[in-house]
């Protein structure tokens, strides 16, 4: 189809779709009046049964933990997929150096930015760890904390200290951490089978409600998810950056 025809066809079909869907949505419970048995039941039992004060975490990592296992592997597959897609083909090295030779002038990172970036890293990492560790108590958890942790590492890059990153980690180490995170979730889940119950059964002591060390396996799963997300994201961005960073270094 030519772009013009395509646009017209889409506008007609999309219009029908939008109007039909909007008309259908009028049959949804009016906004703010939802009363589902499932959600209500879960938010009533998460504290007494699981000592988890954040019901969303209780759903994600306990009652419906298996969904999260699947989601975690979507993340896993996507990161591995990026590695597959961005892998170097034969002769790509040479082609790159040709790119670099044309090197655009990149302004050197100013000292202020450098200090700011490096200075922000420790608090960001701490904040990430805090979010991961308190997933079962307050909003947050392995997914969000993992992203924050990765951001902390990236601040080092933004500060223009890419060499320092290579001192910090290698891609193999990241891959391994990611694999440990993904495999760890499964290993924790298998505990349930080991004691003769079901996969992902919360078999550890539940502790005191409100304590960081409570809620059984949930903080452990959060930690392993946090590790996977953080390692995976840093790996992801490293793979993208890998292709631009040398440009920076060769510029005067």
């Amino acid at each position: 189809m030519t772009p013009r025809v395509r646009r017209i066809v889409f506008l007609v079909a999309g219009g029908v779709f939008a109007v039909t869907l909007a008309w259908t949505f009028r049959a949804l419970p009016s906004f703010g009046h939802f009363n589902g048995a499932y959600g209500t039941a879960l938010s009533r039992v998460s504290v007494p049964e699981r000592h988890i004060t954040d019901a969303v975490t209780a759903v994600n990592f306990d009652y419906r933990g298996f969904d999260t296992l699947g989601e975690e592997f979507i993340f896993f597959a996507a990161v591995v997929g990026v590695a597959l897609i961005l892998r170097a083909q034969h002769g790509e090295r040479a082609e790159h150096s040709a790119d670099y030779a044309t090197g655009r002038a990149v302004p050197p990172t100013s000292d202020a930015v450098r200090v700011l970036g490096l200075g922000l890293t420790p608090p960001t990492v701490l904040f990430g760890l805090y979010i991961v560790a308190h997933g079962h108590l307050t909003p947050g958890g392995g997914f969000q904390g993992g992203v924050v942790l990765a951001t902390g590492v990236l601040l080092i890059y933004l500060a223009g200290e890419f060499d320092d990153l290579h001192g910090l980690y290698t891609e193999t180490a990241l891959e391994r951490s990611e694999a440990i995170g993904a495999g760890g979730f499964i290993a924790i889940g298998l505990l349930g089978i080991a004691i003769g119950s079901a996969l992902l059964d919360n078999v550890l002591p539940l502790g005191t409600t409100g304590s960081v060390f409570s809620a059984g396996i949930v903080p452990l799963i959060n930690a392993s998810v946090g590790l996977e997300i953080a390692a995976g994201l840093v790996l992801l961005l490293t793979m993208f950056l890998h292709q631009t960073i040398v440009l920076r270094e060769t510029s005067p």
């Binding site: 189809m1 999309g14 869907l21 949804l28 009652y63 896993f76 597959a77 089978i193």
Partner: protein, 571 residues
Amino acid sequence: MNNLAPLPVVVPLAAAAFILFMSTVLSRRAVQLLTASCVVGEIGLSGTLLYQARALNIVYWFGGWRPRAGVAFGVSFTIDQIGAGAAVLSGVVVGIALLTVPRTIRTPNGIVHAMLLTLLAAMAGFCLTGDLFNMFVFFELMAVCAFALAAYHNDSAASLRSALNFAITNSVGAFLVLIAIAMLYSRTGALNLAQIGTSLAGRHADRLVVVALALLLVGFLIKAAVMPFHFWLVDTVSSAPIPLVIVLAGALDVLGVYGVSRIYWSVFAGTLATDSAGVQTLLISLGAFSALIAAVLGLFFESPRRRLAFVMVAHTGIVLIGIGCLSAAGVAAASVYAAADGMVKIALFLGLLLLAGANAGRRAGLMVLGLGGLATAGLPVFATGLGKATIEDAAGHAGYAWAAVVVVVAAVFTGATVFDIASASRRAPPDAPEHQKKSAWVPLAIGGTFCLAASVALTSARRGFASAAARFVDTFDYQQRVLTGTAVHHANQTPVLALAPRGVAIDVAVVLAAIAVASLLPALRRVQPARGIARASNVAHRLHAGSIGDSATWVTVGTATIMAVLLAQFR
């Protein structure tokens, strides 16, 4: 609880993580061996579940969260024989795909192996799960693995573009599924298939329910690559690496139809029971449209892979016709056909691969393609013949005799396409000889033979398919087993899957007609085509040039149409 149930998913996932962890340590051979043993393990585990589910569905609650007062607290696997069988098929297909990996894939680190294992886990999870959102999760996991693999040839613009087309189209499908999940959740407050079904049953299906059904249908039919949602598949099959193509051809695309039938029987059958004609007409029409148009288009394209892609679309349409009859007989026939045809299509792609090789391999390839052509057209020795004939019967019983005619015509054309590919490549000179070991063709030939033999052997499992289908459509039994743990007496009669003399006659006639069409084709090609045909062929080629914008437009058109048609029928 039966702790075997989650293992077909968990074992491959754990192995995938392990392979990534050890990627720099393990040798190529070790990775291949580990992956192969995991696939064999998955087949064994799913096979055991298939056996254990022979009398009663297996219900497994993750985390041990059993339902309370009819409210499902956790996620369940609800395993019946159709689901377990589909998981076995997935394992077999991935296993055969693995045979082709050493020949076609050259990456370090076993990344492709990790992806194939994750893909297998997702397929198994999709087949075994009893929870709508969990189904969505595995649906996405399948898609992500598959489109990353589709981009494997990262030096080919066509391959990359097709991966993007695949990814965007399938993601839109996934979002439609998620919207439907939100709608059903708002109505029933449930995510478990059985609980949603129970909660909807006996109530009038209003537009919320009908549109939710429409969106779920679209989401899964995009995965199944039924027309007009097939553009991504044609594009992907032409340029993706062979292992992925084999997985797509053998099981992955037809799992979309599995998804349709699963949600229909577990969720919607109760509320639409007295009024299912609308859904029936819609599914059968979509299937017939795909079967007919794709079968014809297969004749018009040049690249063998692209032509086989159209054969895939056409045959998925035939499966959809069987499912669309909304009867136990239809489900039984469609499952036999889907399983046998999956095997045959894999054999066809292995045949193509053999043709590209050395002389002995070429001969084997021609043999596989020739026999595969007979199976594609539905020679009665093959279970495809049984499946096709019984789908025709089921369509006739449901009052859609015209759909049975479409099935016959489509099989003639797809069979002819395969014969034509074989004879064209017999005439064509072999490709530039690849530098490879002389014996490299042997495993492929063995794989091809195995697939063809399997499609013959499946005829002997007809009773199993029939009783599995009877239980699959027993909505009430499914729901009670999940929510109360009790078993209800089966109300449905087991259908009889048998090849009547009339069916044999039609099958044989189809095969002969396919051979006749194939032998006429070269002569027809020499004739200057009529203006109309030339123009139509031109348009078809341009439509299948791989435009992502086009795919997205057709998805919108299809969605709007399906929504409107279903709503009109449930006024």
